[in-house]
């Protein structure tokens, strides 16, 4: 019982880990750091070939027949070593034609035929069902072995009822997991990067687990391989088994299963998925052609040692199919069977994930959606939201596939060993080989031929392998086997037409392939290919370069606008613009689309929906048949693989456009700044030239006119001195301004009393006011006004404002005032005058550089001129001290009112942490 809870936790933990790996790989892929771009990952993903059947069944088979199990691995080894060029060719075609599955591949080869795609899908579902059953069986079996040990595992399912059957729940849990795992991104596309990463991980786990068991059996249990073999030599089984002769069917059986495995290696939907569809770089194929055989070698290395060790342990090890588990249980540490369980689980789930996802894609793309496309009475166009429907189709497909697998398992599974079930599926998948391979080399292979071959082949398969299974399980009359259908001996399923002495698989393979190839060739020879078929056949057989596509592929006509609307819906605006670029002139939506444009549109759609559906969609636009455009558009809206890719492209291009706009804005700002700088330089030079003009003129006058009287000479010299001072001041101010604007004005803020500073300032301008005949009123709080500021700079500002005010105060009877008061956590220091005031529209302009204040009512130009920099500098200083400086109308005196607002400083106490940065004073 101790295993019960532990296995539960371990299994769920493992599934969660897979999920995390897939999500992580997806995230990396989205960021452009793909984790699957290596030949090693490609190889490991191909190793999904090794399922629970390998993990448990190989040992079982080796225990009965010795090295015979190897043929299942030698087939793919040879296929990979010698068939990599064939594989590369398929990858290239699949990429060029945007193939999504093996059903799509075959359908596209034979003129993008829906019916062929549907047929392949049906055959795949029926054929693979036993294989999925096998994985379910393996999981429940391993669980049963671990929990029941040392008793023999009891897995009699039906007797206990479906609901109490563990494998039923396993199937359901897995269905949920695969739905979560494989249909996470169904809304927009099929992202398989995560799946491939998870599968590669699983391949590592199962290899490590198997090697661990093998090493334990060989070295820990029996010391060395030599010793193990020596002790095994005494086994009675070795006499009857372990030789070519022990293989059912003998040498013929070897060849048969070699061929079977070699073909299935390419044609099993999951293998096609990882080998062809998920290939990201065709150079990986070359490396995988020897890496994958190495993987197979590694995982098979210990099959015989484990089998021998199991046999030597005798009753303690029980059923040979469970040796991988029971060796650890019987004689090893507890973690070993647990590790083996995880290995078996990874082998089984890996297969189920890829197979189910591949099949569900095929079902939705080739069975359900083409059907819905044709059913006008469904009124799909009246439904706005179809993504839910498609999501549902895929999910139901996943559940259905697993439940069918379960059903097969429940009905038939018990009477077959693991290996037997697997080979039944292999034989079904092998039926795809003739139309796939002949289609690649024989241009004459026609759609009708492919369909006839496939139907004939699968019927023979069903008769020679599937039905006997039902018969053996008691669901059909067992006399079918012994007497043949209708009592006709030559119809005996295992000895069709009297062919006896072969093992059942070679027998079934021989007859089914014979019928398959015969019908394919025969019917093809007598059927006419339509134009599209001819084109596709030429493309697939390499007789026609894809670039030389005939332009008359489409008979009908359509408008560019319609084509664009279709593409836009499925592939996004960017791809549409790329596929059918708009001319520079007026809108060309109403012009007829060219044949190249229609072909390009079809190619692009095929990548998203499969060739057949793409053809239906294009058909609907080009000929206006079957469905109106709107209805077609709403269907399959979200199944597209390229849609999300394109959406991302579109996002990127939006982003680029946004960045472009930002750049443009920044550039405009720069240009504006540049213009402002030029203006500033011009103004500076203007302002510098003015005093310089006086200086030079009077200096020259004094030089050239020795007879000027002393009083005049003194006056002129005074002017020279004053103008020089003005020049120096101007330069200082320009530098101040430059420092302020670049943020390099050295400010030394310290706690100070603003009232005191204001009083000092009034003293500094006192004589100036008296000189100008201006009366100065001062109103300052007596208990101080604490602020944090640079005293010198702030005083410069206050004096500047007072100086300005005294300049612009009324003449005569000028009055100015300085007023300081608290206001909402700030101190407001205001300087007012009774002059003409400043018009409101000038309030901000006076803070512009070199702006000369023109006070209203001052047109005689008698006021002293400033530099036009005092106010901008003052505002800059106040801003740098964290305050504000603005202008408003003086209500009291009627002129202008300048207000400096500075934040009130925190009370100056030792406890205040905010005050700590202040210099001690």
């Amino acid at each position: 019982m101790k295993w019960e809870a532990l296995l539960f936790v371990v299994a769920f933990g493992y599934l969660a880990l897979l999920f995390v790996i897939a999500a992580w790989a997806d995230r990396r892929a989205e960021k452009g750091h793909s984790v699957i771009g290596s030949p090693l990952v490609y190889t490991l993903s191909i190793a999904v070939y090794c399922t629970a059947w390998t993990f448990y069944g190989s040992v079982g088979r080796a225990s009965h027949y010795g090295p015979a199990f190897l043929s299942i691995y030698l087939g793919p080894t040879l296929a990979m070593l010698f068939g990599w060029m064939l594989l590369r060719r398929m990858v290239r075609i699949a990429r060029a034609q945007r193939i999504t599955s093996i059903a799509d591949f075959i359908s596209t080869r034979y003129g993008k035929s829906d019916s062929l795609g549907a047929l392949v899908t049906l055959v795949a579902v029926i054929g693979i069902m036993p294989y999925i059953a096998l994985q379910l069986k393996a999981i429940t079996f391993s669980h049963a072995v671990l929990t029941a040990y040392p008793a023999e595992a009891q897995t009699n399912l039906i007797a206990a009822g479906v609901l109490s059957d563990k494998s039923f729940w396993v199937a359901l849990v897995l269905a949920v997991f695969i739905i979560l795992f494989g249909t996470r991104h169904l809304d927009a596309s099929e992202r398989h990067e995560g799946m491939v990463a998870a599968i590669a991980f699983e391949s590592m786990i199962k290899l490590l687990a198997f090697l661990a068991v093998g090493l334990f059996a060989t070295f820990t249990l029996f010391g060395s391989p030599g010793e193990l073999l020596q002790r095994a030599a005494t086994l009675p089984e070795l006499d009857e088994g372990f030789g070519i002769a022990a293989v059912p069917g003998g040498a013929g059986g070897w060849v048969g299963s070699l061929l079977l495995a070699g073909l299935a290696f390419f044609t099993l939907p999951r293998q096609f998925q990882v080998l062809v569809i998920e290939n990201v770089d065709e150079r990986h194929i070359r490396r995988a052609s020897w890496l994958f055989p190495l993987y197979l070698l590694a995982i098979n290395l210990f099959v015989i040692p484990i089998a021998l060790a199991g046999l030597l342990l005798g009753n303690a090890a029980g059923n040979p199919d469970s040796f991988v588990l029971t060796i650890g249980l019987a004689a090893g540490p507890d973690w070993l069977p647990l590790l083996a369980f995880i290995g078996g689980l990874s082998a089984a789930t890996g297969m189920m994930i890829v197979e189910t996802i591949a099949l569900s894609t095929m079902i939705s793309n080739h069975l359900v959606m083409p059907l819905l496309l044709r059913l006008r009475w469904l009124h799909l166009d009246s439904r706005r939201e179809l993504s839910g429907l498609i999501l549902g189709v895929r999910r139901i497909a996943i559940i259905l596939i697993l439940l069918l697998g379960y059903l097969y398992h429940a009905l038939i599974g018990e009477s077959y060993s693991l290996v037997t079930i697997g080979l039944v599926s292999f034989a079904a998948a092998a039926q795809f080989a003739p139309s796939l391979l002949l289609g690649l080399y024989w241009r004459g292979a026609a759609r009708r031929g492919a369909a006839a071959g496939l139907i004939g082949g699968i019927l023979v398969w069903a008769y020679t392998l599937l039905l006997p299974g039902f018969a053996q399980s008691g669901w059909l009359d067992a006399r079918l086997l012994s007497d043949g259908a209708f009592g006709l001996a030559w119809l005996r399923p295992y000895a069709l037409f009297g062919l006896e002495g072969w093992d059942i698989y070679s027998h079934a393979l021989f007859w089914s392939l014979l019928v398959n190839v015969g019908l394919l060739v025969g019917v093809s020879l007598f059927s006419r290919q339509n134009r599209l078929e001819q084109t596709q056949a030429a493309l697939f057989t390499g007789n026609l370069h894809p670039d030389l596509l005939p332009t008359s592929l489409w008979q009908g006509e359509t408008l560019r606008g319609e084509l664009r609307a279709l593409l836009n819906r499925y592939l996004g605006a960017v791809a549409t613009a790329r596929l059918i670029p708009r001319g520079k002139g007026e809108p060309d939506d109403t012009l007829p689309a060219t044949q190249e444009q229609i072909s390009a549109a079809e190619q692009a759609l095929a990548g998203a929906l499969g060739g057949a559906s793409a053809r239906v969609l294009i058909n609907s636009v080009v000929r206006g048949e079957a469905l109106d455009l709107e209805a077609v558009l709403s269907i399959l809206d979200t199944t597209s693989q390229t849609l999300e890719y394109n959406r991302r492209l579109e996002q990127k291009s939006h982003e680029l456009a946004r960045i472009g706009a930002e750049l443009r804005r920044a550039n405009e700002q720069l240009r504006e700044l540049d213009r402002l700088k030029d203006e500033f330089v011009a103004m500076v030079s203007h302002e510098l030239r003015t005093p310089l003009t006086s200086i030079r003129a009077f200096a020259e006058i004094l030089r050239d006119s020795p007879d000027v009287d002393v009083a005049q000479r003194t006056h002129f010299l005074e002017i020279v001195v004053r103008e020089s001072e003005r020049l120096s001041r101007l330069i200082e101010e320009i530098l101040d301004l430059a420092r302020l604007e670049s943020g390099r004005m050295p400010l030394n803020p310290e706690p100070l009393d603003l009232a005191g500073l204001a009083r000092q300032s009034t003293e500094a301008v006192g004589h100036l006011c008296r000189e100008r005949g201006v009366e100065l009123e001062v109103d300052l709080p007596e208990d101080g006004a604490p602020v944090v500021a640079d005293p010198d700079r702030l005083q410069q500002v206050i004096i500047n404002l007072l100086d300005n005010a005294s300049k612009f105060a009324a003449r005569p009877d000028g009055r100015i005032s300085l007023h300081l008061a608290p206001h909402k956590g700030h101190w407001q220091l205001s300087v007012e005058d009774n002059g003409g005031g400043i018009a409101e529209e000038e309030w901000e302009k006076v803070f512009e550089k070199f702006h000369q204040v023109e006070q209203t009512g001052d047109s005689n130009g008698t006021r002293p001129r400033g530099t036009g920099l005092g106010l901008p500098i003052s505002r800059g200083i106040v801003a740098n001290l964290g305050g504000r400086l603005w202008i408003e109308k003086s209500r009291r005196l009627g002129g202008a009112r300048f207000v400096i607002e500075l934040p009130e400083a925190p009370p100056q106490s030792g406890q205040d942490p905010d005050a700590q940065w202040l210099p001690a004073s």
Partner: protein, 123 residues
Amino acid sequence: MTRVLVVDDEPNIVLSLEFLMRQAGFDVTTAGDGESALEQVQQQPPDLVLLDISLPGLSGFEVLERLRAQPEHARLPIIMLTAHGREVEREKGLALGADDYVTKPFSTQQLVEKVKQLLGLAN
């Protein structure tokens, strides 16, 4: 007596020009902005005008344009003064009918010579 009108908003510059013109033997009237310059031209028609471009109110260019618009002042010699060293302003001034163009700070000797030349007094 030959009369020169000096127009500039910078009192010290007006003072220096006034001194230079008197020293050269001319009668001098002055104005601090465009409006009063036009008034001066009406009241005491000068033989030559030294006209600053950047003036408060009417600019030097506007004064120039208005003067040239009056037939009696169409041939009045006018020298533009400017603290902007920009070529466009020089061209603009000449296009509007200025006789010469002087950039501040100027050489007093050259200015006096230019004035004499325009008045046909040069040797």
